[in-house]
Protein backbone atom coordinates (compact mmCIF):
# COMPACT_ATOMS: atom_id res chain seq x y z
CA UNK A 1 0.00 0.00 0.00
CA UNK A 2 1.28 3.42 -0.83
CA UNK A 3 1.57 5.27 2.39
CA UNK A 4 3.52 8.13 0.99
CA UNK A 5 2.25 11.34 -0.32
CA UNK A 6 3.89 12.09 -3.60
CA UNK A 7 5.81 15.12 -4.56
CA UNK A 8 3.44 17.27 -6.43
CA UNK A 9 3.30 17.87 -9.98
CA UNK A 10 6.30 18.12 -11.93
CA UNK A 11 6.20 15.48 -14.56
CA UNK A 12 3.11 16.95 -16.09
CA UNK A 13 5.28 19.74 -17.21
CA UNK A 14 8.43 18.16 -18.45
CA UNK A 15 11.07 20.71 -19.11
CA UNK A 16 9.23 23.44 -17.21
CA UNK A 17 9.24 24.44 -13.63
CA UNK A 18 5.71 24.55 -12.25
CA UNK A 19 5.60 28.32 -12.18
CA UNK A 20 6.96 28.71 -15.68
CA UNK A 21 4.59 26.01 -16.90
CA UNK A 22 1.67 27.97 -15.49
CA UNK A 23 2.93 31.15 -17.06
CA UNK A 24 3.49 29.48 -20.39
CA UNK A 25 0.11 27.83 -20.27
CA UNK A 26 -1.69 31.03 -19.44
CA UNK A 27 0.12 32.92 -22.17
CA UNK A 28 -0.95 30.33 -24.71
CA UNK A 29 -4.56 29.87 -23.73
CA UNK A 30 -5.84 33.11 -22.24
CA UNK A 31 -6.11 34.98 -25.55
CA UNK A 32 -8.65 32.38 -26.65
CA UNK A 33 -10.79 32.30 -23.54
CA UNK A 34 -13.74 34.35 -24.78
CA UNK A 35 -14.02 32.45 -28.02
CA UNK A 36 -13.67 29.10 -26.25
CA UNK A 37 -16.24 30.04 -23.66
CA UNK A 38 -18.66 31.00 -26.39
CA UNK A 39 -18.04 27.71 -28.14
CA UNK A 40 -18.65 25.84 -24.89
CA UNK A 41 -21.89 27.71 -24.42
CA UNK A 42 -23.06 26.99 -27.95
CA UNK A 43 -22.22 23.33 -27.52
CA UNK A 44 -23.81 22.86 -24.12
CA UNK A 45 -26.58 25.41 -24.11
CA UNK A 46 -26.31 26.33 -20.47
CA UNK A 47 -23.91 28.15 -18.28
CA UNK A 48 -23.13 25.41 -15.78
CA UNK A 49 -22.28 22.85 -18.44
CA UNK A 50 -20.41 25.39 -20.53
CA UNK A 51 -18.19 26.24 -17.59
CA UNK A 52 -17.74 22.57 -16.81
CA UNK A 53 -16.70 21.83 -20.36
CA UNK A 54 -14.41 24.85 -20.42
CA UNK A 55 -12.77 23.63 -17.21
CA UNK A 56 -12.30 20.13 -18.57
CA UNK A 57 -10.68 21.57 -21.65
CA UNK A 58 -8.15 23.55 -19.64
CA UNK A 59 -7.26 20.54 -17.51
CA UNK A 60 -6.71 18.43 -20.57
CA UNK A 61 -4.79 21.16 -22.34
CA UNK A 62 -2.47 21.71 -19.37
CA UNK A 63 -1.62 18.02 -19.28
CA UNK A 64 -0.66 18.37 -22.94
CA UNK A 65 1.42 21.49 -22.51
CA UNK A 66 4.34 19.87 -24.26
CA UNK A 67 2.20 19.54 -27.38
CA UNK A 68 0.53 22.89 -26.98
CA UNK A 69 3.73 24.92 -27.04
CA UNK A 70 4.63 23.56 -30.45
CA UNK A 71 1.23 24.13 -32.06
CA UNK A 72 1.11 26.99 -34.53
CA UNK A 73 -2.55 27.86 -33.90
CA UNK A 74 -3.43 27.03 -30.31
CA UNK A 75 -6.90 28.53 -30.66
CA UNK A 76 -7.96 26.09 -33.36
CA UNK A 77 -6.39 23.21 -31.50
CA UNK A 78 -8.15 24.13 -28.28
CA UNK A 79 -11.48 24.45 -30.06
CA UNK A 80 -11.07 21.03 -31.60
CA UNK A 81 -10.12 19.47 -28.27
CA UNK A 82 -13.18 21.08 -26.70
CA UNK A 83 -15.43 19.82 -29.46
CA UNK A 84 -14.02 16.30 -29.14
CA UNK A 85 -14.43 16.43 -25.38
CA UNK A 86 -18.03 17.38 -25.88
CA UNK A 87 -18.61 14.60 -28.41
CA UNK A 88 -16.85 12.02 -26.24
CA UNK A 89 -19.01 12.93 -23.27
CA UNK A 90 -22.07 13.85 -25.20
CA UNK A 91 -24.31 11.65 -23.15
CA UNK A 92 -23.20 13.40 -20.01
CA UNK A 93 -23.64 16.84 -21.45
CA UNK A 94 -26.84 15.97 -23.30
CA UNK A 95 -28.33 14.67 -20.09
CA UNK A 96 -27.34 17.82 -18.34
CA UNK A 97 -28.73 19.87 -21.14
CA UNK A 98 -32.12 18.28 -20.62
CA UNK A 99 -31.90 18.99 -16.95
CA UNK A 100 -31.02 22.58 -17.48
CA UNK A 101 -33.61 23.63 -20.02
CA UNK A 102 -35.31 25.71 -17.42
CA UNK A 103 -32.06 27.14 -16.27
CA UNK A 104 -32.07 29.34 -19.34
CA UNK A 105 -35.00 31.16 -17.87
CA UNK A 106 -33.36 31.87 -14.57
CA UNK A 107 -32.29 35.35 -13.78
CA UNK A 108 -28.96 36.18 -15.33
CA UNK A 109 -29.00 33.11 -17.56
CA UNK A 110 -29.66 32.82 -21.26
CA UNK A 111 -32.00 35.18 -22.98
CA UNK A 112 -33.66 36.42 -19.83
CA UNK A 113 -30.29 37.90 -18.99
CA UNK A 114 -30.46 40.24 -21.95
CA UNK A 115 -29.15 43.65 -21.06
CA UNK A 116 -31.89 46.19 -21.04
CA UNK A 117 -31.91 49.62 -22.61
CA UNK A 118 -33.90 52.75 -22.16
CA UNK A 119 -36.90 51.37 -24.02
CA UNK A 120 -38.79 48.72 -22.02
CA UNK A 121 -41.18 48.04 -24.90
CA UNK A 122 -38.34 47.24 -27.26
CA UNK A 123 -36.69 45.15 -24.57
CA UNK A 124 -39.85 43.16 -24.19
CA UNK A 125 -40.26 42.68 -27.94
CA UNK A 126 -36.68 41.58 -28.28
CA UNK A 127 -37.01 39.15 -25.43
CA UNK A 128 -40.11 37.65 -27.01
CA UNK A 129 -38.42 37.28 -30.39
CA UNK A 130 -35.42 35.64 -28.78
CA UNK A 131 -37.66 33.24 -26.93
CA UNK A 132 -39.33 32.30 -30.19
CA UNK A 133 -35.92 31.84 -31.80
CA UNK A 134 -34.73 29.77 -28.88
CA UNK A 135 -37.73 27.46 -29.12
CA UNK A 136 -37.12 27.10 -32.85
CA UNK A 137 -33.46 26.33 -32.34
CA UNK A 138 -34.40 23.70 -29.79
CA UNK A 139 -36.31 21.87 -32.50
CA UNK A 140 -33.26 21.50 -34.70
CA UNK A 141 -31.01 18.50 -34.47
CA UNK A 142 -27.84 19.03 -32.45
CA UNK A 143 -25.73 19.07 -35.60
CA UNK A 144 -27.91 21.61 -37.37
CA UNK A 145 -28.26 23.83 -34.35
CA UNK A 146 -24.53 23.89 -33.72
CA UNK A 147 -23.63 24.68 -37.30
CA UNK A 148 -26.13 27.50 -37.60
CA UNK A 149 -25.06 28.97 -34.26
CA UNK A 150 -21.37 28.77 -35.07
CA UNK A 151 -21.77 30.22 -38.55
CA UNK A 152 -24.58 32.70 -38.23
CA UNK A 153 -24.25 33.74 -34.61
CA UNK A 154 -20.57 33.33 -33.81
CA UNK A 155 -19.27 34.17 -37.27
CA UNK A 156 -17.19 31.05 -37.82
CA UNK A 157 -16.11 30.52 -41.40
CA UNK A 158 -17.23 27.33 -43.07
CA UNK A 159 -13.64 26.16 -43.18
CA UNK A 160 -13.30 26.74 -39.44
CA UNK A 161 -16.38 24.62 -38.80
CA UNK A 162 -15.01 22.01 -41.17
CA UNK A 163 -11.75 21.91 -39.22
CA UNK A 164 -13.58 21.76 -35.92
CA UNK A 165 -15.96 18.97 -36.85
CA UNK A 166 -13.66 17.22 -39.28
CA UNK A 167 -16.45 16.87 -41.82
CA UNK A 168 -16.37 17.48 -45.58
CA UNK A 169 -17.07 21.07 -46.56
CA UNK A 170 -20.03 19.94 -48.64
CA UNK A 171 -21.60 18.33 -45.60
CA UNK A 172 -21.18 21.52 -43.58
CA UNK A 173 -22.75 23.60 -46.35
CA UNK A 174 -25.71 21.30 -46.79
CA UNK A 175 -26.31 21.11 -43.05
CA UNK A 176 -26.22 24.87 -42.79
CA UNK A 177 -28.65 25.18 -45.68
CA UNK A 178 -31.02 22.62 -44.17
CA UNK A 179 -30.76 24.19 -40.75
CA UNK A 180 -31.74 27.60 -42.07
CA UNK A 181 -34.59 26.14 -44.09
CA UNK A 182 -35.87 24.27 -41.10
CA UNK A 183 -35.66 27.40 -38.95
CA UNK A 184 -37.64 29.31 -41.55
CA UNK A 185 -40.29 26.59 -41.61
CA UNK A 186 -40.59 26.50 -37.86
CA UNK A 187 -40.75 30.23 -37.48
CA UNK A 188 -43.27 30.62 -40.32
CA UNK A 189 -45.46 27.91 -38.88
CA UNK A 190 -45.25 29.54 -35.51
CA UNK A 191 -47.15 32.45 -36.97
CA UNK A 192 -45.86 34.96 -34.53
CA UNK A 193 -42.64 35.68 -36.27
CA UNK A 194 -43.06 36.85 -39.84
Amino acid sequence: MLAYATIRAEIATRGFSISSAQDTFERLVRPHFDRLYRLAWRLCGSKAEAEDLFQELLIKAFSKLDDLVSIAEPGSWLSRVMYNLFIDERRRFARRRMHTVEEGEMSGEGISGLPGNADPVRDHERLQRMQVLERALAQLSDEHRLIVLLHDTEGYKLTEIQELMELPLGTIKSRLHRARSRLREILSADGTFF
Partner: protein
Protein backbone atom coordinates in the same frame (compact mmCIF):
# COMPACT_ATOMS: atom_id res chain seq x y z
CA UNK B 1 -43.78 31.44 -51.52
CA UNK B 2 -41.95 34.02 -53.57
CA UNK B 3 -38.18 33.98 -53.58
CA UNK B 4 -38.27 37.59 -52.45
CA UNK B 5 -40.24 36.64 -49.34
CA UNK B 6 -37.86 33.78 -48.62
CA UNK B 7 -34.85 36.05 -48.89
CA UNK B 8 -36.48 38.58 -46.60
CA UNK B 9 -37.22 35.92 -44.02
CA UNK B 10 -33.70 34.55 -44.25
CA UNK B 11 -32.33 38.01 -43.63
CA UNK B 12 -34.61 38.42 -40.67
CA UNK B 13 -33.52 35.07 -39.24
CA UNK B 14 -29.88 35.96 -39.78
CA UNK B 15 -30.36 39.25 -37.99
CA UNK B 16 -31.98 37.42 -35.09
CA UNK B 17 -29.25 34.82 -34.95
CA UNK B 18 -26.59 37.51 -34.91
CA UNK B 19 -28.36 39.04 -31.96
CA UNK B 20 -28.84 35.73 -30.15
CA UNK B 21 -27.43 36.42 -26.72
CA UNK B 22 -25.12 34.53 -24.49
CA UNK B 23 -24.37 35.33 -20.87
CA UNK B 24 -20.95 36.34 -19.75
CA UNK B 25 -18.86 33.89 -17.81
CA UNK B 26 -19.19 34.12 -14.06
CA UNK B 27 -16.96 36.84 -12.67
CA UNK B 28 -13.53 35.44 -11.93
CA UNK B 29 -14.34 32.18 -13.68
CA UNK B 30 -11.44 32.35 -16.11
CA UNK B 31 -8.88 32.90 -13.36
CA UNK B 32 -10.32 30.15 -11.22
CA UNK B 33 -10.45 27.78 -14.17
CA UNK B 34 -6.78 28.44 -14.87
CA UNK B 35 -5.78 27.69 -11.29
CA UNK B 36 -7.88 24.54 -11.16
CA UNK B 37 -6.52 23.39 -14.51
CA UNK B 38 -2.89 23.70 -13.50
CA UNK B 39 -3.48 21.96 -10.19
CA UNK B 40 -5.77 19.25 -11.46
CA UNK B 41 -3.81 18.73 -14.68
CA UNK B 42 -0.65 18.23 -12.67
CA UNK B 43 -2.34 15.89 -10.25
CA UNK B 44 -3.79 13.69 -12.96
CA UNK B 45 -0.52 13.53 -14.83
CA UNK B 46 1.40 12.86 -11.65
CA UNK B 47 -0.90 10.02 -10.73
CA UNK B 48 -0.37 8.43 -14.12
CA UNK B 49 3.35 8.92 -13.77
CA UNK B 50 3.55 7.56 -10.26
CA UNK B 51 1.50 4.53 -11.16
CA UNK B 52 3.65 3.91 -14.21
CA UNK B 53 6.74 4.26 -12.09
CA UNK B 54 5.48 1.82 -9.54
CA UNK B 55 4.40 -0.67 -12.13
CA UNK B 56 7.87 -0.66 -13.59
CA UNK B 57 9.48 -0.76 -10.20
CA UNK B 58 7.47 -3.75 -9.10
CA UNK B 59 8.28 -5.50 -12.34
CA UNK B 60 11.93 -4.75 -11.83
CA UNK B 61 11.94 -5.95 -8.27
CA UNK B 62 11.40 -2.53 -6.68
CA UNK B 63 14.62 -0.74 -6.14
CA UNK B 64 13.90 1.50 -3.26
CA UNK B 65 16.29 4.20 -2.41
CA UNK B 66 15.14 5.51 0.85
CA UNK B 67 16.47 8.84 1.79
CA UNK B 68 15.08 9.32 5.19
CA UNK B 69 15.52 12.16 7.52
CA UNK B 70 15.20 15.11 5.25
CA UNK B 71 14.13 17.22 8.14
CA UNK B 72 14.34 20.77 7.06
CA UNK B 73 13.89 21.88 10.62
CA UNK B 74 17.37 20.58 11.30
CA UNK B 75 19.52 22.32 8.75
CA UNK B 76 23.20 21.90 8.75
CA UNK B 77 23.21 18.18 8.50
CA UNK B 78 26.15 17.11 6.40
CA UNK B 79 25.31 16.61 2.77
CA UNK B 80 24.89 13.05 1.79
CA UNK B 81 26.05 10.41 4.18
CA UNK B 82 29.23 8.69 4.98
CA UNK B 83 28.20 5.80 2.82
CA UNK B 84 26.73 6.55 -0.58
CA UNK B 85 23.91 4.20 -1.48
CA UNK B 86 24.30 2.50 -4.79
CA UNK B 87 22.54 0.45 -7.39
CA UNK B 88 23.68 -1.62 -10.32
CA UNK B 89 21.91 -1.06 -13.61
CA UNK B 90 21.91 -2.98 -16.83
CA UNK B 91 22.77 -1.03 -19.96
CA UNK B 92 19.70 0.32 -21.74
CA UNK B 93 17.40 -1.26 -19.22
CA UNK B 94 15.22 1.28 -17.41
CA UNK B 95 15.13 1.06 -13.68
CA UNK B 96 13.06 2.98 -11.18
CA UNK B 97 14.67 4.49 -8.15
CA UNK B 98 12.33 5.81 -5.54
CA UNK B 99 13.39 8.80 -3.53
CA UNK B 100 11.64 9.37 -0.28
CA UNK B 101 11.84 12.77 1.30
CA UNK B 102 10.60 13.14 4.82
CA UNK B 103 9.62 16.56 5.99
CA UNK B 104 8.26 17.65 9.32
CA UNK B 105 6.10 20.32 7.75
CA UNK B 106 4.46 21.09 4.41
CA UNK B 107 6.83 22.91 2.08
CA UNK B 108 5.55 25.08 -0.71
CA UNK B 109 7.73 26.00 -3.65
CA UNK B 110 10.67 23.83 -2.85
CA UNK B 111 13.13 23.24 -5.66
CA UNK B 112 14.28 19.80 -6.60
CA UNK B 113 17.27 19.40 -8.89
CA UNK B 114 18.48 16.10 -10.23
CA UNK B 115 21.96 16.02 -11.75
CA UNK B 116 22.94 13.06 -13.86
CA UNK B 117 26.36 11.84 -14.92
CA UNK B 118 27.16 11.23 -18.57
CA UNK B 119 25.59 8.00 -19.65
CA UNK B 120 22.69 8.07 -17.22
CA UNK B 121 19.43 9.59 -18.36
CA UNK B 122 16.07 10.13 -16.85
CA UNK B 123 13.18 8.71 -18.80
CA UNK B 124 11.36 11.48 -20.63
CA UNK B 125 14.30 13.86 -20.45
CA UNK B 126 16.70 12.55 -23.08
CA UNK B 127 20.09 14.23 -23.12
CA UNK B 128 19.40 16.41 -20.09
CA UNK B 129 22.07 16.33 -17.43
CA UNK B 130 20.24 18.57 -15.02
CA UNK B 131 16.51 18.68 -14.43
CA UNK B 132 14.92 21.15 -12.04
CA UNK B 133 11.36 21.30 -10.78
CA UNK B 134 9.58 23.54 -8.44
CA UNK B 135 7.53 21.35 -6.18
CA UNK B 136 5.68 21.12 -2.92
CA UNK B 137 6.09 18.62 -0.15
CA UNK B 138 3.50 17.43 2.28
CA UNK B 139 4.30 16.87 5.91
CA UNK B 140 5.53 13.32 6.25
CA UNK B 141 7.04 11.17 3.58
CA UNK B 142 7.00 12.30 0.00
CA UNK B 143 7.78 9.88 -2.76
CA UNK B 144 9.41 10.69 -6.06
CA UNK B 145 10.13 7.81 -8.42
CA UNK B 146 12.95 8.49 -10.89
CA UNK B 147 13.09 6.24 -13.89
CA UNK B 148 16.70 6.02 -14.95
CA UNK B 149 18.27 4.54 -18.05
CA UNK B 150 21.97 3.79 -18.48
CA UNK B 151 22.98 4.67 -22.01
CA UNK B 152 26.67 3.94 -21.51
CA UNK B 153 28.63 1.62 -19.21
CA UNK B 154 30.38 4.52 -17.46
CA UNK B 155 28.08 4.87 -14.47
CA UNK B 156 28.58 7.66 -11.97
CA UNK B 157 26.81 9.53 -9.23
CA UNK B 158 23.31 10.90 -9.37
CA UNK B 159 22.71 13.96 -7.22
CA UNK B 160 19.30 15.04 -5.98
CA UNK B 161 19.20 18.43 -4.31
CA UNK B 162 16.16 19.66 -2.49
CA UNK B 163 16.10 23.32 -1.54
CA UNK B 164 13.59 25.38 0.32
CA UNK B 165 14.21 29.01 1.12
CA UNK B 166 17.79 29.07 2.32
CA UNK B 167 17.90 25.45 3.37
CA UNK B 168 18.73 22.43 1.34
CA UNK B 169 20.32 19.07 1.14
CA UNK B 170 21.96 17.02 -1.53
CA UNK B 171 21.70 13.29 -1.75
CA UNK B 172 23.91 11.03 -3.79
CA UNK B 173 23.33 7.74 -5.49
CA UNK B 174 26.14 5.71 -6.97
CA UNK B 175 25.09 4.04 -10.20
CA UNK B 176 27.18 1.23 -11.60
CA UNK B 177 26.38 -0.27 -14.95
CA UNK B 178 26.91 -3.92 -15.64
Amino acid sequence: MHQQDTDKQDQEILALLKDYPMPEATAGFYDQALVRATHEGSRRQRNRWVMAGFGSAIAAGLVLWLIGGFFLTTPGLPDGANSVPGIVMTLEEPRTVNLVFASTEPLERATLTVRLPDGIEMSGFPGQREITWETSLNAGKNLLPLRLIATSPLGGEVYATLEHNDRGRTFRLQVDVS
